[in-house]
């Protein structure tokens, strides 16, 4: 409730920020269901390489996306220190494999900047906004571009 | 204290309608599916008033009313018949068994409530 109040008052939002290598990213907190430690995933046949497989999230079958690999970088080598951010996009849930979660930030509408043209096409598609906070730059992720459940035809 | 009405009807739809009507008027409502069920519900629910259908399996409304009246504790409890039937001979028969009143289905919610208010207080 408190959250909604503040969002209404300045048009801003809460974001969860996390690290991937040296870079900092963020997702809107409203999309985040929970954050949990990495556990070994069951690989899925015929899946894109960035899908690490599925894990058991209290009885639900949750696909986990290696975000680093999704961005075209090398696959992560997950350890128990790695973290899975469980997000919800529309009716589907999936996990994002990231190095570590930094903190929860409140950003206002003015803090949000469009992604400059220098970024490559693919990266731009994944990043909705840039947030400049002090000397940090946080890339706010467009979750729906990361993963959507595939229909039979697409698979 | 809320007054309790025992509604006896073999139709689930009717039971739900009666329940909705009476609960909205702040009655406590107990439900039973036929006369037999109604009799066994008496003890459990100790109703202040009874609303019953006539045409029911096992024990119909007439039999139910008579059996209720046989019990000392319910000799004067108001019993309202709620039936699609409206034949005078049927009404007479219910009266003789000890029914307090007769309302024809489909019933009007306000009517049912005001009658019960009047009968039960």
């Amino acid at each position: 409730m408190e959250l909604d109040e503040r969002q209404k008052s300045d048009g801003g939002k809460e974001i969860v920020s996390f690290r991937l290598g040296e870079e900092e990213f963020g997702v809107e907190i409203m999309s985040v269901r929970e954050i949990r430690g990495w556990s070994k995933a069951t690989p899925l046949p015929h899946s894109p390489p960035y899908v690490r497989g599925v894990i058991n999230l209290r009885g639900a079958v949750l696909p986990v996306i290696d975000l680093n690999q999704r961005f075209g970088e090398a696959p992560s080598d997950p350890s128990s220190r790695h973290v899975v951010i469980v997000v919800q996009v529309e009716n589907a849930q999936f996990g994002l494999l990231v190095d570590a979660v930094s903190d929860i930030l409140h950003v206002t509408q003015e803090d949000l900047q469009d992604t400059p043209d220098v970024a490559t096409g693919e990266t731009r598609a994944f990043i909705r906004h840039l947030v400049a906070l002090d000397d940090r730059m946080i890339r706010l992720i467009a979750l729906e571009s990361i993963f959507t459940p595939m229909t039979a035809e697409a698979a | 204290m809320k007054k309790t009405i025992l509604a006896v009807d073999d139709s689930r739809t009717m039971r739900e309608m009666i329940r909705a009507a009476l609960e909205s008027a702040d009655f406590e409502v107990a439900l039973a599916e036929d006369g037999e069920d109604g009799l066994s519900a008496l003890e459990r629910t100790e109703p202040d008033g009874i609303v019953t259908d006539i045409n029911m399996p096992r024990l119909d409304g007439f039999g139910f009313i008579e059996k209720v009246r046989e019990q000392e504790a319910y000799r004067t409890t108001p019993i309202l018949v709620l039936s699609t039937e409206s034949g005078p001979e049927l009404k007479q028969r219910a009266r003789e068994g000890g029914a307090t009143g007769w309302i024809v289905k489909p019933f009007d919610r306000d009517k049912l409530v005001s009658v019960l208010d009047r009968l039960i207080g």
Partner: protein
């Protein structure tokens, strides 16, 4: 949801059940397997439908139900003998009632033509006049009139109402508009019966008090004598003065139900009310005369009244129809089992949670085992926990299962329709109605089963002439049976017709290019051609099972439910379609198979046998392909590890475990794995919601250690393993 809408839904659900009970009852009357209560059940079903329909103003349904009920009442009272023709009409009426109901449920406008003509038939049977179509509800008083809600406000209490002292209600209404205060003098003398029927004078006084200013005096008793207040000896009389803006009708309403049980007069004073009440009693007139109760005087109840109460119930009673031979025996009144209705979502949530519990239990057990030697209590406790969990799981699963009875019953209508459309005489026999199956399976079975039944009547059975020629009875029989068989439900549709004309089936398949002209097919293979897409044996498409829907569609629907369909036929004696279905969609008996460090689950139903590979059985075929010789038959080898992308194709299959698989189509294949871990029931978890569909994978499950294992789609894997073209697979 809006509460009325919710009740409306309840009504629709209840209606479906009532319609089922109605049809079942009529069918048992038809077959002569009914008892006394059956007619009552049938009558009540229609009666309840009418009642509910009235509440929701589903007029066409009310009208038809009323006519139907009237005829059933004749049957119930024994005035109308339920002979074959009568029951046929009643069955058709049940169909129409069902159609009208379905129209309302689906928000369509009910077509009343058939209904109207049937109403005429029904009224011929009952001797009552048929109601006019879609006209205003009949205003007859004799029995039930479908009273719309507004009318009900005036629904009389006990009749006759002796209150009306001749006052014009219209005048009352006019007066009320001005709402002047009026004075009434009310005399009220309760009779004994008033108390006996739960009337309570003080409550009536309170209700009057609510109308205005009240002034009450009690006469006729010595108020100081408490004994005189004994309700068994009512001799008190209330004299009530009421100053109110309410009109006479309001006051009368207060006394609505007690008017017959009391002497009552309501008198307007001071000329403020409309002039009327010419016969209004004088103050000290004998009270009894004011209430012209037609039946009897009040106190004490004459012996005749008591005798009447003790006498056998008159004919209108539903519970006791006319005395019959079985009167001497105690009536087999079986109490219906108590049931609760629960939202399916809640059940499914419970099933999910129990699934969690099963997994949690397995994980806990493993944890304890891993942590070193167990003491005896812990081991026993864990074992009991395991047992309990299992039992809970089975019980919860059972909640979702329902008897197939309603489904089988529904088919009798299909048989009737198909029979009359084809001019055949058909009897449907059903067995195993109590067999239970998952609700969802049950629902999705309706369409394929309908089609199979139509097919049996349409194509399976011969015409009456042909049957006679063949020395059979004119009437064909379709047998519909359900049974549990080794953890599955088997449903069979069998006709006693001519059997499949294999010559013709083969020719059609050749003509349609489905098989080569010189193909060598076994009888069974020919029979299975019926399941091929685009196959239709009917020379001209009949209006029933035609419409381009073939048995292939039926087969797909059954497969989608995790079921299999098979066909057997014997010339001259008939054809049997047999469906085998899982009990539930929520769990599956699976074999846990190891491939490297992956564990996958294969449905037990797909596995014929398992064995270790011995040298010499394996033969190379094409590039990287292998076939395995199993008792003289060559089956293709499917390396599921590489098929699923878990590893490259293995070159050395020595010591590998082989799972011999048979698909729904009867195609066999040998799956290669590293080992078999276990055989257990697994909880099915869909992948679609969060991930999507995966080729070769049907679903997932959670293992005892909390990890996820994939449940493989054996058929799909065999298909994908698309063999080197040529000699192998076709003939099995």
């Amino acid at each position: 949801m809006d509460p009325m809408e919710e009740i409306r839904q309840t009504f629709f659900t209840e209606c479906e059940e009532l319609l089922e009970a109605l049809e079942a009852g009529l069918l048992s009357i038809h077959d002569g397997t009914h008892d006394e209560e059956t007619v009552n059940v049938v009558f009540r079903a229609v009666h309840s439908i009418k009642g509910g329909a009235g509440a929701f103003e589903l007029d066409a349904l009310v009208r038809f139900a009323h006519g139907f009920e009237t005829t059933l009442d004749e049957v119930r009272s024994g005035r109308l003998e339920p002979g074959e023709d009568v029951v046929a009409t009643l069955l058709r009426s049940a169909d129409v009632l069902s159609d009208l109901f379905a129209a309302y449920r689906d928000g369509a406008v009910p077509a009343e033509d058939t209904a109207q003509s049937l109403l005429v038939e029904l009224s011929t049977l009952s001797g009552a006049p048929a109601p006019a179509p879609a006209a205003a509800p009949p205003a007859d008083d004799g029995g039930f009139a479908p009273v719309p809600l507004a009318l009900d406000l005036e629904a009389p209490a006990f009749e006759p109402v002796p209150l009306d002292l001749g006052g014009g209600d219209d005048a009352d209404a006019a007066d009320e508009a001005a709402s002047p205060l009026r004075h009434y003098a009310i005399r009220f003398r309760p009779k004994k019966d008033l108390y006996r029927r739960g009337g309570e004078p003080t409550l009536l006084l309170r209700a009057l008090d609510a109308l205005g200013e009240l002034d009450v005096a009690v006469t006729g008793i010595d108020a100081a004598d408490p004994a005189a207040l004994d309700p068994e000896e009512p001799c008190a009389e209330w004299l009530i003065g009421l100053k109110t803006a309410a009109d006479r009708a309001d006051i009368e309403e207060v006394f609505e139900f007690v008017s017959d049980d009391s002497d009552l007069s309501i008198e307007a004073l001071l000329g403020l009310e409309e002039p009327q009440a010419p016969q209004a009693p004088q103050a000290q007139e004998a009270p009894a005369s004011a209430a012209p109760a037609p039946e009897r005087e009040a106190v004490p109840p004459p012996a005749e009244a008591q005798a009447e109460q003790a006498a056998p119930e008159p004919e209108a009673a539903s519970a006791s129809p006319a005395p019959s031979q079985s009167e001497g025996q105690s009536k087999p009144v079986v109490a219906p089992k108590a049931t609760v209705r629960v939202d399916l979502d809640r059940v499914d949530r419970l099933i999910n949670l129990v699934g969690e519990l099963v997994i949690n239990q397995a994980m806990l057990t493993q944890c304890v085992e891993d942590s070193g030697p167990m003491n005896r209590e812990v081991a026993t406790g864990l074992e009991e926990f395991h047992q309990l969990t299992r039992e809970i799981q089975e019980s919860v699963m059972a909640i979702r299962t329902q008897p197939v009875k309603p489904l089988l019953q529904r088919m009798s209508r299909i048989v009737r329709e198909s029979a009359s459309a084809t001019g055949k005489s058909v009897r449907l026999r059903t067995e195993g109605e109590a067999t239970e199956i998952d609700k969802t399976v049950l629902e999705r079975l309706a369409d394929p089963l309908t089609h199979m039944i139509r097919n049996a009547v349409d194509h399976g059975l011969e015409s009456p002439e042909k049957r006679l020629e063949a020395g059979k009875s004119e009437e064909g029989t379709v047998r519909l049976t359900a049974a549990h068989r080794s953890g599955r439900v088997v449903i069979e549709v069998a006709d006693d017709g001519a059997g499949i004309n294999r010559e013709r089936v083969r020719q059609i398949a050749v003509d349609k290019g489905l098989i080569a002209a010189d193909a060598q097919l076994t009888e069974n293979e020919i029979d299975n051609l019926l399941f091929m897409p685009g196959f239709s044996t009917a020379k001209e498409v009949s209006n029933l099972s035609g419409r381009g829907v073939g048995m292939d569609v039926v087969k797909k629907a059954i497969q989608a439910l995790g079921g299999r369909i098979a066909i057997t036929s014997s010339p001259g004696r008939g054809t049997t379609f047999s469906i085998s279905l899982p009990l539930t969609l929520a769990v599956l008996d699976g074999m846990l198979v190891r491939i490297d460090d992956h564990t996958v689950v294969l449905p037990l139903t797909a596995i014929i046998e398992t064995f270790k590979l011995q040298g010499g059985e394996l033969h190379r075929l094409g590039q990287g392909g292998h076939v395995l010789s199993v008792r003289g038959e060559f089956v293709p080898l499917v390396d599921i590890g590489s098929e699923l992308g878990f590893r490259d194709r293995v070159e050395d299959y020595e010591e590998a475990v082989i799972l011999l698989i048979q698909t729904e189509e009867g195609v066999r294949a040998a799956f290669v794995a590293d080992g078999i871990d276990d055989q257990q029931q697994v909880v099915i978890k869909g992948l679609e919601d969060n991930y999507g569909t995966i080729e070769g994978v049907a679903a997932a499950t959670i293992l005892g250690d909390g990890r996820i294992a994939l449940i493989l789609d054996a058929d799909n894997l065999v298909e994908r393993a698309a063999l080197p073209p040529g000699e192998t697979s076709a003939a099995a």
